[in-house]
Amino acid sequence: MGTGNFLWNLSKNYFTFGLIGLTVSDRYFSIVSVQGTSMSPTFNSHVDNSKRPLTDDRVLVEKFCLEKYKFFHGDVVVFCSPTNHREKHVKRITGLPGDWISAPHNYDVIVVPEGHCWVEGDNSALSFDSRSIGPIPLGLIRGRVTHIVWPPNRVGKVHRTISQERLPF
């Protein structure tokens, strides 16, 4: 009787915790780990690119921006990959609707359509982004990265920066 009651209470507590955790991570904040070096040096910056990193950076993602879908140039966002809905990617927004972007391969200039954005990795040599898949719908965005929370020596705010050469016209 005593054990059953204890187990029941324990599972009830876990359930409550899960419920609250899920809600908070869906609506307010969540923590994700960044894999790959496409956003180096902002995340996962390693001197030696050939070696696998010891720890991936963990970042804090806020979800308040999803109420209005209002984003700015230089925001680092988490979005659902357009080619595979199970994958999430972290990239920086470099173009918003109406901006002119020079496509890298054929020197064409294209305009970002309404409701879309242009995302690029900070490490342009090793990044699979809008330069190969084109502009992505803003509706795929799942949150905005604000802080690095792990490892301890890299804790800090993620700045809304944009390199000069890639500023839109």
């Binding site: 899920l22 080619t83 595979n84 199970r86 409701g115 719908p137 509706g139 795929l140």
Partner: protein, 171 residues
């Protein structure tokens, strides 16, 4: 004296905490059910005639099949509009990735009435309204990523004369 007051106040704090927790639990359950199980949606406009009527239907949509990647051809789905990310629209899936879709371009600027054929790219779907003449869908903005899907509509709740399930339909 202060310690005495504190001891008297403890049960009040405890009760308040318990109440807050219960309210929080209630809203969290609502959120989890609404975003992982099923949700209500209101259909608007003429784009899904005759499946949904002009004045608007209250429909029930489940989230499981879209989350698990089970939504398929012929399903009526809730999808976040690729043009206006704040809006969610109701359309029917006409083609999954790899399918060949033929359509007449509905873009008013260069509507030439010619039929075009496209293969839906990887990870994308082709959506169209049931009312082809009054629907802004994939014929206008092309295939949309699967990640924009929000749910599969399976039941009409209101008005009462339309009450019933919404099935698959192959076009």
């Amino acid at each position: 004296m202060a310690l005495q007051n504190l001891r008297e106040l403890t049960p009040i704090f405890k009760e308040g905490f318990g109440l807050t927790l219960r309210v929080a639990k209630f809203f969290c359950s609502l959120h989890v059910i609404n975003s992982y199980l099923c949700t209500f949606a209101l259909s608007q406009g003429p784009s899904m005639l005759p499946t949904f009527n002009l004045t608007g239907n209250l429909v029930l949509a489940e989230r499981l099949s879209t989350r698990l990647g089970q939504a398929g051809k012929g399903d009526v789905v809730l999808i976040r509009s690729p043009r206006e990310p704040r809006k969610v629209v109701i359309k029917r899936i006409v083609g999954m990735e790899g399918d060949t879709v033929s359509y007449v371009n509905s873009d008013s600027k260069n509507a030439d009435g010619k039929e075009a054929t496209i293969v839906v790219p990887k990870g994308h779907i082709w959506i169209e309204g049931d009312n082809k003449s009054l629907s802004r869908d994939s014929r206008l903005f092309g295939p949309v990523p699967y990640g924009l899907l929000e749910g599969r509509v399976f039941w009409v709740m209101w008005p009462p004369e339309d009450f019933g399930s919404v099935g698959k339909k192959s076009t």
